[in-house]
Symmetry: C2
Subunit: 750 residues, 2 copies
């Protein structure tokens, strides 16, 4: 194409041959265009058309030449912005070509080429701002670590140093038998370090420090979750069941040996046919006054104890939950200490142990089934804090209602619903540390001609990892709050604390399941290899949403507690009246705010913590009032309450979610208000804003339905979430470094 | 309480002692009330107060007596509806008590008791409608099975009968080495049954039937997913790479041996440093004209091939993707056949194999790494369909652009993006079959005094399993459509089909990940035991969202294809102008519909398939136009296109999702329209309605933001989703039975 004006076609020719999205049809479009240009001679046309014949493509060298020609022209004429302008330059400002602007633009469109984009692609991309994002902490990592660890820093550091020892080395390829023994051995080491008995009273050799016990559970969870669960079964479930449900004689007899792991034991509650519905347990404990003993019995195979940790291999005794029968009268579920094995590990007569076999995770824990064939135990083995058989052989309890006694007993076991969500939290922290550090290093794709870019610079990747990171920080402070409430509990507050624990257990464990899913996908194939740990974290915590209470069932308990509190707080008026009142009142309160708030998209407003909290509170109150109203209405129309609650079950979950969201946000904000260091406070504030706004974004359907926000605002919030992710990205690595998880727990990737 | 009027207090006394939600404060409230009643004598008050002293609770017998008294009264007076009315009856219609209505109601509220609920709880609950739901098919299961299997019924039944044989027995506890060998042996059996070579041309011993090949992949996926992937690596990736990228000489030399598994091989594309960005591969194939050969070389450790199936143990050869270098010039990525092991399995000189070790799942597949140390291969080993080295030692290709050639090559491999989503679909079907059948049998909780209820009768459980079931049916028909499009492809349609395959691969695999998560949780502890299969299904399919293209990356490809199509279809006008036009036009089209539709909550309208499809189309078009407009604007303001695409990355995913949702719904509707059997059509229509409405519910935030619906309508849709779940529940077991999955694949639960 020596004829200068013909050079005008080079960019289009180059693009049709190199753009992998163009089809035959586009070639014909271009051919038709050339054919219809009357300023071209027949020879010109033939020459041009010969370069775009599908059966006779240009050589690779032609293409390279064209590309060089174009790039050189653009370099010489940096003002060029469109394919037409480039064509003019290439034609050496030929006047005929200068007149083609309209038809060239049409042609570009016919071909589906975005001209500006194409031109940009010929320029060097060194200036791309996506390329330049990188890790750069705006704060002192150590200070955030101190803040997170708080008063438990000492014990946390002790545990970290123990699990970093060579004998705690993780091995993803262990055989199940070897793994179970290894976990038992690890527990023995921890017991020797006086970690197992940390929560027991000092007079029984314990540390008398429950706060430290929870910190131990959480910190161990960085390491191996089978270890945590085995540890929790032995020292938490088994030991604490003695402490919570037994009396002095039991403490004196058992606690010391449990704390040193001399006496491994089980917590045998769940049966094959009864998990969530514990009240329906069918194992029986029948009292015999003449021999001052009980017979523990499994009436049919589906009433066997199932999933019992420590049962398949190591447990020598178990706290067994069974219906107490005295003179053929059923006194409801009570707890009994039942020996399973002798000191050499031989299973005792009348006891049949099964092995649950391979599980999705936690394969270092020896879960098993237990069947009792008329096993005799002495009367003193009844854990008799809340009920006993008196000297006359009669049932006696300070709590007359079977139901109430049962829930009081369960209430004392609420500690498990603190240990598990804290363990889940630690797993999320570990997963995020691995995924964020990997994503900061892993590069893939980049601007044309420039080097590849860390995948954490991509917006979707930021959303997938940084929103979960913000939530993880939020959950951390919420669980600190829950722990404090539990440690300072009074009887009056117990129901609220139990509901809070049930709720945060669900909240934290579901959050962890979701987060580890994102972490796995964010690490691609590397996330699938066991050596990189996400495998184990994900599979081990998978059952956290089920054990210590199925999350969906727990969320309904939380909702029922909220409904009950709601009814109580409006005792002054008729129930339906008050519900209407609150509901309408909430509505009108909002209506007043309308002009000011529902369309407000000012940055300062969107980032304002008061706006966040009000939005969360409004959602919580409105959903609660609405659910209460709906249940009332359904029952009024003749539905059984059981059916009414089933009809609104979906809404009950929403009641609990909204309540928990509010508690979590509130506690995050309170925690930040107490931070003195400015830089720590600044970065945590950003995290809290991201948590709040991403939750609002997630629930934008609800807010729009409720007219609490207009679409202009929900759209502005979406953008703000993206912006916050972008702003936090340079701090992301430092924010996971602040978890200060031992390197030995982070797998091969980091 | 012999004094009849005092009996009025029995219900409240009973409730405060038995209700586990009441606290000390409530007792004081009740005490205060009694104290303030001037119609009671001092003795009466002392007597009453003594029954509600916390330090001196009634005996269990007292409580039982009270309960019996109450229940007897209600039985005798079934018209009683409130605690006050009950009190009147118990007081033998004492006139003083009759005057207490207002203060009693207030007291109830102060105590937080919902009177009607309490009364209901004393009645028998046999009439609860929740209790009565049970499995009862409204259609002929066989007819739906025939519909799903279609023309592939024959091969599907053959595969089912093979995987049901004793030698295919599943074993969750296999050691990794044993498992890998077992999977290889299974593949050998399948090859002998002429299933492996099904897609190869008949002249090379194949079946020449690609439709059957995909059906085989899908049906095998009911069994063991390691088997499917091993099978897919050997016969699909390895064999098809020869067929798609090679020429006659390669077919003649290799296909027969690959089809019989005499020649196990690998597909070696991914490298440690380059997965999604395949163009960036660093392995080199340097041509030597003098010896007519190539040297295959791994330039640095991170350029090693990684995750390669069949590499760690069995592969004797591999299709290796490497940059072709001729005289120091880089001609882009091409494919070469490279021997790895001799026939005895001994690794050849210059080849270093690593083992990826234990993975989250698919542990029956021997994934490995491959490093090449200047490995010499003959010139004929280049797969030369799209490029070759000519006799003069020069590069030659019918496709001059390296980029275009590269994408054409990849395009021929699109079959993998059909096999994987279909395998994922089968895994979802298996998971749902297990979870739904279990939930139909598993009972937990129930109305007071009645028997327990199948958990599938609970509304949340229905939402968790039946919405996924509807989606699974929808995806089934969408993948049938994709397969047909692929089998009847023309060059003109290839880009669209590639985008569709990339999109549905993401759609189906993400859907499976989500669904199996629900299935696991829905089965509780049972879902965690390996013997029940959800473990394996979940972990094996986990990497489906990553391999054959990371889903997030693929969704961006889909979005870019949609944007490109969008630009092309409006070639007549300037690009920004047209975008504005379409966007505003769409808006106004809707505005016209407003009064009719956005508030319409008629059942007939909500269930109307035209409404569903229009809503999906509107979302698709509006998001697409909006994304196009936004990108244009960002580039106009000076952003590099690379950065602009990063800014809108989140929106691009939404573009792809909306497109795929529409395709999936459309194909489901088209499939139903062709169903002749009325009962089949009726139940599938319900499933399609549930799919459509649950997707709209999921995206209600978007619809509200867009003013396409008002909140009254989105709320009505939520209720309709619940109602559809309830209506489908009796058919649920039959709907999973229609998948006709062999019992041997369903684990121990079913």
């Amino acid at each position: 194409m020596k004829n200068a004006k013909l050079q005008a076609f080079i960019p289009l020719f180059y693009i049709v041959w190199s753009d992998d999205l163009l089809t035959k049809k586009e070639f014909f479009t271009l051919q038709y265009y050339i054919d219809s240009q009357d300023w071209l001679s027949v020879e010109d046309k033939i020459g041009l058309l010969s370069r775009i014949t599908i059966s006779n493509p240009p050589s690779r060298q032609d293409l390279t030449d064209w590309k060089n020609t174009i790039e050189q022209s653009i370099q010489d004429n940096p003002e060029v912005k469109s394919i037409f302008e480039l064509a003019v330059v290439l034609s050496k400002n030929d006047t005929t070509v200068q007149n083609l602007e309209v038809s060239f633009a049409k042609l570009e469109n016919d071909l589906g080429i975005l001209g500006e984009e194409a031109i940009s692609n010929f320029k060097t991309k060194a200036k791309s701002f996506t390329v330049n994002q990188q890790a750069e902490a705006s704060f002192d990592v150590r200070k955030i670590t101190d803040l997170l660890d708080g008063e438990q820093a000492h014990i946390i550091n002790k545990v970290k140093s123990i699990i970093s020892r060579p004998e705690f080395k993780l091995d993803a390829a262990m055989d199940i038998g070897v793994y179970r023994q290894k976990v038992f051995d690890w527990c023995t080491i921890l017991a020797k370090e006086n970690l197992g008995n940390m929560a027991y009273p000092k007079q029984y050799g314990g540390g008398g420090n429950i706060a430290d016990y929870f910190a131990i559970m959480e910190t161990l969870s960085y390491h191996d979750l089978s270890l945590v669960i085995k540890f929790g079964v032995q020292f938490g479930l088994w030991g604490m069941s003695i402490q919570s449900l037994g009396t002095e004689k039991h403490y004196a007899k058992y606690l010391r040996d449990i704390g040193t792991l001399k006496l491994p034991g089980c917590f045998a509650m769940t049966e094959t046919h009864h998990g969530s519905n514990v009240k329906g347990l069918e194992t029986t404990a029948t009292y015999h006054h003449e021999t001052q003993s009980f017979t523990i019995h499994t009436p049919h195979p589906k009433a066997q104890k199932e999933y019992i940790g420590n049962a398949a291999l190591h447990g020598q005794m178990a706290t067994v939950f069974a219906k107490l029968i005295i003179e053929e009268h059923d006194y409801g579920v009570n707890a009994f200490i039942v020996p399973l094995r002798d000191e050499k590990g031989v299973v005792l007569k009348g006891i049949t142990i099964g092995d649950c076999g391979p599980k999705m995770g936690l394969n270092g824990v020896d879960n098993g089934t237990i069947r009792f064939d008329n096993v005799l135990i002495p009367k003193e083995n009844m854990l008799d804090r809340f009920a006993c058989v008196n000297e006359k052989g009669g049932f006696q309890s300070p709590i007359p209602s079977d139901n109430r006694r049962f829930f009081t007993m369960l209430g004392t076991l609420v500690g498990g619903r603190i240990g598990i969500p804290r363990s889940a939290l630690a797993a999320a922290k570990t997963g995020l540390t691995i995924a964020i550090k990997y994503s900061d290093q892993r590069k893939q794709f980049g601007p044309e001609g420039a080097s590849e870019v860390p995948i954490l610079n991509y917006r979707m990747h930021q959303r997938r990892l940084l929103i979960p990171l913000a939530k993880t920080y939020a959950v951390h402070f919420a669980l600190q709050y829950l722990t404090k409430r539990f440690l300072n509990k009074s009887e009056e507050q117990m129901q609220e604390i139990e509901a809070l624990a049930a709720g945060l257990k669900s909240y934290s464990t579901w959050s962890t399941t979701e987060i580890l899913q994102e972490c796995r996908e964010a690490c691609g194939g590397k996330g699938y290899l066991s050596e990189n740990r996400i495998d184990a974290l994900k599979n081990d915590t998978e059952v956290y949403t089920t054990f210590e209470g199925d999350n969906t069932v727990l969320m309904q308990l939380v909702a029922k507690n909220r409904l009950s509190e709601f009814r109580k707080s409006f005792g002054e008026m008729g129930s339906l009246g008050i519900i209407n009142y609150v509901y309408e009142n909430a509505k009108s309160a909002i209506a007043e705010k309308n002009p000011l708030i529902i369309r407000n998209t000012d940055e300062a407003h969107l980032l304002d913590y008061e706006f966040h909290l009000q939005a969360f509170q409004h959602r919580e109150q409105t959903i609660l009032a609405s659910a209460a109203k709906r249940i009332k209405k359904l029952i009024d129309t003749g539905l059984e309450p059981y059916d009414a609650f089933n009809v609104v079950q979906h809404q009950l979950i929403a009641v609990a979610e909204a309540y928990l969201d509010r508690v979590v946000l509130e506690q995050f904000q309170i925690a930040i208000a107490a931070v003195e260091d400015e830089k720590s406070s600044a970065v945590l504030t950003k995290m809290c804003q991201l948590f709040a706004l991403s939750q609002i974004e997630k629930n934008k359907g609800w807010y729009l339905e409720d007219d609490y926000m207009e679409s202009v605002k929900t759209k502005a919030i979406r953008k703000m979430v993206n912006q916050l992710c972008w702003d936090i990205r340079p701090d992301a690595v430092a924010l996971v470094n602040a978890f200060a998880i031992p390197d030995s727990c982070l797998g091969a990737l980091v």
